[in-house]
Amino acid sequence: MATGHDAHHHGPASGITRWFYTTNHKDIGSMYLWFSFAMFLLGGMFALVIRAELFQPGLQFVDPNFFNQMTTMHGLVMVFGAVMPAFVGLANWMVPMMIGAPDMALPRMNNWSFWILPFAFTMLASTLFMDSGAPNFGWTFYAPLSTTFAPDSVTYFIFAVHIMGASSIMGSINIVATIQNLRAPGMTYMKMPLFVWTWLITAYLLIAVMPVLAGVVTMMLFDIHFGTSFFSAAGGGDPVLFQHVFWFFGHPEVYIMILPAFGIVSEIIPTFSRKRLFGYDSMVYATSSIAFLSFIVWAHHMFTTGMPLAGELFFMYATMLIAVPTGVKVFNWITTMFKGSISFETPMLFAIAFVVLFTCGGFTGLMLAIAPADFQYHDTYFVVAHFHYVLVPGAIFSIMAAAYYWLPKWTGNMYDENLGKLHFWLSFVGINVLFFPQHFLGLAGMPRRIPDYALQFADFNMVSSVGAFIFGFSQLLFLFIVVKTVMGGKKATAEVWEGAEGLEWTVPSPAPYHTFSTPPAIK
């Protein structure tokens, strides 16, 4: 392995073992990204089964139990397999290059944290082939549906979640250690790029809440196999306790999936506006405030469980407060563009769509925060529309923006701009046709997680399914574009983008296998 002062003379090892043994942050970043893309396609296939079944009223394709397995697996694979590893992959690639570090602080643990993931997801996916079928209790796996009434495969699910959690915790420890210890001299905290800042905060969130997730699945394990009654009233437990513990993990988890996206967009918008990010300091403070608030709003997912009035009011007020720092971020992005010099390359298109559509998801989030109104929205398609608006044109679009933005740096080649724009417009139209009608479905009274529906919901469901297939198949174009760029294309310069600033643009494209073996000078 590369060690010492001559490290930058070493290239990657050859053969397949390069990928098994690698401790290089760029190799591991690539593996995370490819893995997450594979999971994105897998989770997308599950989603298309759902949308195919919901194309028309009646049960056409799948048994309701299999439908429930699809909704569950779609959620789990997308959250833990697609979005989170994609952000970790981007952090691996970019954080060391952005802070002028030679690699991640804990390279061997980096390898380990990636390589346990494929095993976790193989274990999870294998449940589809078991007699009992895959987990069918929703990605939120509320007890007792997920304990007393669960299929036998729930135990595999629990261990898969344990492994995913271990991977995330190791990944976050690594990111924290890297950012806090390996910054180049002069790279003070308030000079760090926002992507680094948002990831630092995200990593702390992960370290705080992934053990809570591990705890809640372990309590399930004990209820199922060892006779405890954490979540069973018959034995002195409480099914609602499950929801409290789950959402104490689950709400920060929501921000884990969006804070790095904020960071990405805060990198891209200034570049293509050719103007410095507006309100850097307030961006940092807003991100920190959101992270703090994320710990005290969890029970807004549980307004209908019968909490006391005081509890409802507290969680309603706290949730509404999140709108303030989130608004600050949106205003800052728009003010960055204001009086800039804007061009519309693919990363910028995705970033602008992020700002527009994430704000849309923010509005519905504010509506959902209002507890009395939430009684009408809760567990309907309005919620489905809300969280898909923040996760798909939010998290997923930011990841795509990041991929287009840094792909020339990673591969040394420019992607095909026309194809990139085609991919953007197909995705943008597809996503809105897919999710916008779901607002109407929810308000009109369609519950989520149902395989069949009353006739008044037929038209919008059909529209939504058409959008799903447009969006789903457009992603094959993304795969094609990325592969084409890896294979060749117009050579990229070191700076790549006219308005780009940051250390990653000072190294050649493609970035050498080892960068910043000696720390760069920071202005």
């Binding site: 309100g279 205003f331 809760h378 567990d379």
Partner: protein, 396 residues
């Protein structure tokens, strides 16, 4: 019958290809019922209670606030994208900080939020005041039906289940044969709705016998979780008579999408007459437990009960959906000693989906369904269970 597809994930894929033709041809031929074209419902119903209207106006208030903010935010964004294009020769400014602006756009949203919080708090406080109800109804969620029990009433206790009434032929469209045409209230119709009086405060006490369910009637703006082992409360003063429909909104297993909530609001006098009739019927059922029935009577009634309570899991042909739902045809229990069969139906089987029906069904229905299971699908045991046997077993 619902085919068991979950064991092989490829089966749905294959059948997808097979059926896609039919779905696509339906679209092409415009077979999506024309009656559906009027169904582009966009918004939340105003409902028929003071609180549902309050909730609706709260929803609209916040919606319009969001629209107003959206117009400003998106307006500035679109203006910037048009006015400051590089292709039009825009020269970037160099500012990157403005404390005044940042304070303004922190404080103004905060003030708007306070404006939203005040009416929300008021409505929520009203919703939470379930005191001084005139009628209390216990609502119990079961996989996958609702049970309603009228409390605080003199006379025989009125308690019954409310089951999905849409025939399976309407929703099981797996086969290529033309499915039965879907009715107007497809999936939102039950055999027996909850009946409540208009203009009286009716309190619902919600709980569950198995997993968490959630009881929702959009026109009442009432949605509350039914949690096993705990009792939640909610209430309504319905201001208009009529039939109001909702659904279970908490994922509760395989047939979560098939347990509608239907409430019929009657004038108080009509409600009283209805309740008196139900009490008389309840008395007749209690009396029937001491009668003796013939094999034909038991088999006929047993078939009805089986179709409502057992068929979803054990299937119409008694073959079940192994391994989760075992076959009854040829089963050792259904063809074995009668006590064992009664026991499992009354008490359920721990750790499985088999519920304890002893508390759910009348002695007559239990006797009938057990007799039916012992003598249907070639299980020709030949013996009968009488209501008195059930009462005896329950007493032990």
């Amino acid at each position: 019958m619902l085919p068991m597809l979950s064991t092989n994930p490829l089966t749905p894929v294959i059948s997808c290809i097979h059926r896609l033709r039919r779905v696509l041809s339906a679209v092409v031929l415009g077979l999506v019922s024309p009656s559906l074209l009027a169904a582009w419902e966009l918004n939340m119903p105003e409902g028929i209670t003071a609180l549902s209207r309050e909730t609706h106006s709260l929803h609209m208030l916040i919606f319009w606030i969001c629209v107003a903010i959206g117009v400003v935010v998106y307006g500035v964004l679109i203006y910037s994208l048009i006015a400051y294009r590089k292709s039009k020769g825009a020269i970037p400014a160099t500012f990157h900080h403005n404390t005044t602006a940042e304070i303004i756009w922190t404080v103004i949203p905060f003030i708007i939020l306070i404006g939203m919080a005040i009416p929300s708090t008021r409505v929520l406080t009203q919703i939470y005041d379930a005191s001084e109800s005139e009628l209390d109804i216990m609502v119990t969620g079961y996989q996958w039906r609702w049970q309603y029990r009228y409390l605080n009433e003199d006379g025989a206790e009125v308690t019954y289940f409310s089951n999905l009434a849409t025939p399976a032929e309407q929703y099981e469209n797996f086969s290529d044969s033309i499915a039965a045409e879907k009715g107007e209230n497809y999936l939102l119709e039950v055999d027996e709705p909850l009946v409540i009086p208009a203009n009286k405060k009716v309190r619902f006490l919600l709980t569950s016998a198995d997993v968490i369910h959630s009881w929702w009637v959009p026109d009442f703006a009432v949605k509350k979780d039914a949690i096993p082992g705990f009792v939640n409360e909610s209430w309504v003063i319905a201001e208009q008579t009529g039939i109001y429909r909702g659904q279970c909104t908490e994922l509760c297993g395989r047939l979560h999408g098939f347990m509608p909530v239907v409430v019929e609001v009657k004038e108080p006098a009509e409600f009283d007459a209805w309740l008196a009739e139900k009490q008389a019927a309840a008395q007749r059922i209690a009396d029937a437990a001491s009668q003796t029935f013939t094999m034909d009577q038991l088999m006929e009634q047993g078939q009805t009960v089986y179709n409502t309570y057992c068929m979803a899991c054990h299937q119409a042909n008694g073959q079940g959906l192994p391994p989760a739902f075992p076959a009854l045809a040829g089963s050792a229990i259904a063809m074995g000693p009668i006590e064992g069969h009664i026991g499992i139906v009354l008490n359920g089987k721990a750790g499985t989906a088999m519920a304890a029906f002893g508390a759910q069904l009348s002695a007559v229905d239990l006797a009938a369904v057990i007799t039916f299971e012992r003598n249907a699908w070639g299980n020709n045991v030949g013996d009968m269970v009488q209501p008195v046997d059930i009462v005896t077993a329950q007493g032990e």
